[in-house]
């Protein structure tokens, strides 16, 4: 795998070539292919933005052509390893923090790289907004700002040393109510969850299809609607654990 730091920004702006996926944030751009991550930075840009792009979508994209990668956060809970899946901003991190506050440990944040039915453990750090840190009582935890312009932080949380089979997958949505979805529906929902479908090689696409089918058959998948206020999450976690 190659990491290129590029400075060939032409007057026309950023130029990319398929089949790479493109990411950008203001003064930085990222292109991810099966074997390479290219990063373009405008002069003077804060290095943390490049780090965020490379370690987030960059590595997730490269990894996705090697193993199936779900866009989700995995926790080791009282009911086993649970993968929380949902679009960015839907509340995965806040829900995770509420669960960690009740004793869960973090397996991996945001990237669930599968090894069979297990998620490989990642760094024990959870990305949280400042209000989430305060509301969830994690003020005392070690933290580092992950972006110079946003109050989002990497917060140190309890992690795990070894992988364990996924016991449940939770698809997070807004609204009210929770329900288990059928395996066939779960398969479609999991397939649609891929963060970077455009960069997968044909072999990786086929691997992804079969990996999600195996999970949908073997692992209970729940659709859980999160309430808006952060203080309601504790009750939701408790009821979810009680549901078995």
């Amino acid at each position: 795998m190659r990491l290129h730091l590029r400075d060939d920004v032409g007057p026309e702006g950023w130029v990319f070539h398929p089949p790479r996926a493109e990411y950008g944030y203001g003064p930085a751009r990222l292109a991810v292919g099966p074997d390479a991550i290219d990063v373009w930075l405008k002069p003077g840009v804060d290095a943390s933005i490049a780090r965020l792009l490379v370690l987030g979508p960059g590595l997730a994209g490269v990894l996705a052509n090697r193993v199936p990668v779900i866009h989700g956060t995995t926790l080791r809970t009282a009911v086993g390893d649970v993968v929380l899946v949902g679009p960015s901003g839907m509340g995965k991190s806040s829900f995770s923090a509420a669960w960690i506050r009740r004793g869960a440990r973090l397996v991996a944040d945001d990237i669930a790289a599968l090894d069979g039915r297990c998620v490989r453990p990642g760094p024990p750090r959870l990305k949280l907004w400042e209000d989430g840190i305060a509301a969830l009582g994690l003020d005392g935890a070690a933290r580092a700002r992950i972006h110079p312009e946003h109050a989002k932080f990497g917060v140190a949380v309890p992690g795990v040393d070894s992988a364990a089979p996924v016991a449940r997958i939770v698809l997070i949505e807004r609204g009210e109510g929770s329900a288990r979805v059928s395996p066939a529906e779960a398969h479609g929902l999991l397939l649609a969850n891929h963060r970077l479908p455009g960069i997968l090689t044909p072999e990786a696409q086929v691997r992804w299809l079969h990996a999600m089918a195996a999970l949908a058959r073997d692992v209970p998948v729940w659709r859980v609607c999160l309430p808006g206020p952060l203080d309601a999450l504790d009750g939701l976690v408790a009821s979810f654990e009680a549901s078995g």
């Binding site: 395996p183 398969h187 299809l209």
Partner: protein, 92 residues
């Protein structure tokens, strides 16, 4: 010359979860779904078969008129061929 035979196109992948078939065309990255009789037809097309041979197998499972079955199978097969998910093998 015998009737053409049909078979799942090379490189196209599929999987079955609870009787619902999901088909992936890696060339386009698109997914397609089939259920019920459509899923049965897809599974039968893992091997090269004519429409009549597909109907032979379906008539053992479903109570349906042969001519109606043949028309429905031909319709689905034509759509799958149009999407390049199934290939046509000329009759002998």
């Amino acid at each position: 010359m015998s009737a053409p035979r049909y078979r799942v196109a090379e490189g196209v992948a599929s999987t079955d979860v609870d009787g619902e078939v999901t088909i992936l065309d890696p060339r386009s990255g698109l997914y397609f779904g089939l259920e019920d009789v459509g899923a049965d037809i897809w599974v039968l097309l893992a091997e090269a078969r004519s429409v009549a041979e597909v109907c032979d197998a379906l008539l053992e499972r479903y109570d349906v008129d042969r001519s109606e079955c043949a028309a429905d199978v031909q319709g689905l097969v034509d759509e799958l061929v149009g999407r390049r998910l199934v290939e046509v093998l000329p009759g002998a």
